[in-house]
Amino acid sequence: MTPVQGVDLAFWYILGISVVLLFGITAVMVYFVVRFRRSRHPVASDIRDNYKLEILWTIIPTLIALSMFYVGWHSYLGLRAVPDDAMNVAVEAQMFSWLFIYENDKESENELVVPVGRAVKLNVSSVDVLHSLFIAAFRIKVDAIKGIPTYAWFYADKVGEYDIQCTEYCGVNHSAMVAKLRIVPQEEFEAWLAEDGN
């Protein structure tokens, strides 16, 4: 299971249970309001509590919540466990663009190009204020901080173009701080890497 699938599974698990709970609560609430309306049910019963029921509806949600915690944590581990053969790219965030620096010192602004079939580790930092690197397609996000290195990784499994956005508010052109991730075949990547940087 790739990290993306792990995170998506967690989404389905949590959202699925949530929808069922929401539907249940709402349906019961509406049913009570209609069934026990004053014109039909003029005298209310005097029920004040029911310990068994209350214990039950404390314990069961606790178990559900703990299972959600586990699923969420487990999917996070996938986002943190970088494979040993991952390719390293340094990412420098600045107001308001992304700089990608490869191991051969090639620099690329606002365009991250990687070969298909490789794991890519992004070593993120900032030269000024906080930024945050977000690649929605790979469910990764990590803050870029001046002086404190952070990282994220993804497995470039399909050729294509993906969006990179800044998700930590960084000033007037925050929303323009977007870049492209291009996943290309190995040969094309090598040719691109050998090109002179700008």
């Binding site: 967690a10 709402t26 309001v33 703990l66 404190i148 925050h174």
Partner: protein
């Protein structure tokens, strides 16, 4: 009973007349109303700003304003809504007005301090206004004021955080007043398990206000010092830590979320039993869950920071604690719904608004689970999903509870009834507009649209357009409700002392109450939600 003058005609301290009777008052009820007017003013301002923001986002590129203006406006919207509306709304207005009455006493423990808190509140608001029109304009940092941006920004950050500092003082003093009133002024015959749930929720809130607010005050002082003296507390190049700021900020601002929601939960815990004519289900569980939320809610702040670069151990601990704080909220929701089982339910505007509260708050709580879980939060953190989530809780929750409280206690505060039909229409319009407004944002967030974005990628345009449309509907609904209430002040229909058939003490005194609240020593019930004695006369009393 008609011979007793109401607090509108008699001043406290006695002898004051005209505007002085208001500006120098010690009367918790007058102060409650004075908060009401100020808070509503700010609410309308921030609502208009919110609508401008969403209008800008309805189409790609520039729609009605530039990015600088946009960034200031969302900051302003956040600062006003949080510090001048959501935090003070229920405690300062309804808490001030009803906490002493529900406890069977004639005022809060420190009436002069109460007046002082109101002045601090006004002062803080004026500071924020001054920050708007002086220096280099209102901050564009977001209400979170994250460093290092807030330290570097040339805008008026210093003045604005000072405003928030002063508002924090006001909030703390109100909390102090509530805790002392709760313990020292309560009718001697009223035991802890005989206290109405609204007052209990305010008590839990007050502790959080007292204990958490100093943290944000210190943090804001540090930001100001950093701007003036460049000490380097948050600068790693000089041994500081930028993440430290985030910890300090959320150490207050997450508990503040419970300052915002707990009183709303208290309101709903009052309204549901009254209109079900049936005891609240699980009174003790609700009391304990309020206290549980106040304590556990103070230990989960770093769930705002999973992507911040803090250690994975912290991420683990804070995620686990976050899931545990979900339980007391769930218990409350179940208790409210169970209260209606075998009740005798009468539909009224406050009840309808409370039911909408339960639905929207549930959505807010459940989407919170997605954010509490680590792997999923990484994807939706700082996206529109978060924006929608906290609006479901703060607006769908606290906002609707505020509206419910307004419709529930309006007859008591002003001694008049209002027509129901426009209130229903307004409530339904607001709820429908709300869903049109925020559900698209949930989806936008899952698709990856970040928050605080002036402009966006083309794939997000449809969702943003729909959200803007919902926003207008939402505001129309609110206007209908407010106009309806205001119109009732002109065409006065006198309200009886107990128009709803309620049991708590505020309904045992005339509407509006006299200056010392109780004409005779009140009778304290063994259990505050015992509806067996409530006859069937309330509906007929009203019409």
């Amino acid at each position: 009973m008609t011979a007793i003058p109401s607090f509108f005609t008699q001043s406290s301290p006695p002898g004051l007349t005209g505007i002085k009777a208001w500006l120098l008052t010690h009367d918790h009820k007058r102060l409650g109303l004075m908060y009401l007017y100020a808070v509503l003013f700010w609410f309308v301002v921030a609502m208009v700003i919110g609508l401008l923001i969403r209008t800008e986002l309805m189409s790609q590129g520039r729609t009605i304003m530039g990015p600088g203006m946009y960034n200031s406006l969302f900051t302003l919207h956040g600062v006003i809504m949080i510090f001048l509306f959501v935090i003070p709304a229920i405690p300062a207005i309804f808490g001030n007005f009803f906490l002493p009455i529900q406890l069977g006493t004639d005022d809060v423990f420190f009436p002069r301090l109460n007046l002082f808190s109101w002045y601090l509140f006004m002062f803080g608001g004026i500071f924020a206004l001054v920050a708007l029109f002086t220096g280099d304009g209102f901050p564009d940092t977001g209400w979170t004021f994250y460093v290092p941006f807030s330290v570097q920004s040339s805008s008026n950050v210093g003045l604005t955080v000072s405003a928030a500092f002063i508002l924090g003082m006001s909030s703390m003093l109100t909390g102090l007043n509530f805790v002392t009133t709760f313990h020292r002024m309560r009718d001697k015959r009223m035991g802890l398990m005989q206290i109405p749930l609204f007052t209990w929720s305010l008590y839990a809130t007050a502790w959080v206000q007292i204990l958490a607010t100093p943290v944000i005050s210190i943090t804001f002082v540090l930001v100001v010092m950093e701007r003036l003296l460049s000490i380097g507390l948050f600068d790693p190049a000089r041994g500081g830590d930028p993440i430290l700021y985030q910890h300090l900020f959320w150490m207050y601002s997450h508990p503040a979320v419970y300052i915002m929601i707990l009183p709303g939960m208290g309101v709903v815990s009052e309204i549901i039993p009254v209109f079900s004519r049936k005891s609240i289900f699980g009174y003790k569980a609700i009391v304990w869950s309020s206290m549980g939320i106040a304590i556990a809610g103070s230990l989960v702040w770093a769930h705002h920071m999973y992507t911040s670069g803090m250690s994975d151990v912290s991420v683990f601990v804070f995620s686990l604690l976050t899931f545990l704080v979900a339980i007391p909220s769930a218990v409350k929701v179940f208790s409210w719904v169970a209260t209606m089982y075998k009740g005798s339910i009468e539909m009224t505007p406050p009840l309808l608004l409370s039911l909408i509260f339960i639905y929207l708050f549930s959505v807010g709580g459940l989407t919170g689970l997605v954010l509490g879980a680590v792997g999923t939060d990484i994807h939706v953190h700082d996206t529109h999903f978060v924006v929608a989530h906290f609006h479901f809780v703060m607006f769908g929750g606290t906002g609707f509870a505020f509206l419910a409280a307004l419709h529930y206690w309006w007859p008591k505060m002003f001694g008049i009834m209002y027509p129901f039909r426009p209130a229903y229409i307004g409530a339904v319009l607001t709820a429908v507009g709300f869903l049109f407004h925020y559900v698209p944002m949930l989806i936008l967030g899952l698709q990856g649209m970040p928050r605080r974005y002036y402009d966006y990628l083309p794939q997000y345009e449809t969702g943003n357009f729909l959200a803007g449309f919902g926003g207008y509907l939402l505001c129309i609904g609110l206007v209908v409700m407010f106009v309806n209430l205001l119109a009732s002040l002109r065409h006065r229909v006198a309200a009886p002392a107990d128009p709803w058939g309620a049991t708590t003490l505020e309904w045992r005194v005339p509407s509006p109450p006299p200056v010392h609240n109780f004409v005779d020593k009140p009778e304290i019930m063994d259990f505050p939600y015992d509806f067996r004695q409530v006859g069937d006369n309330s509906a007929s009393q009203r019409s």
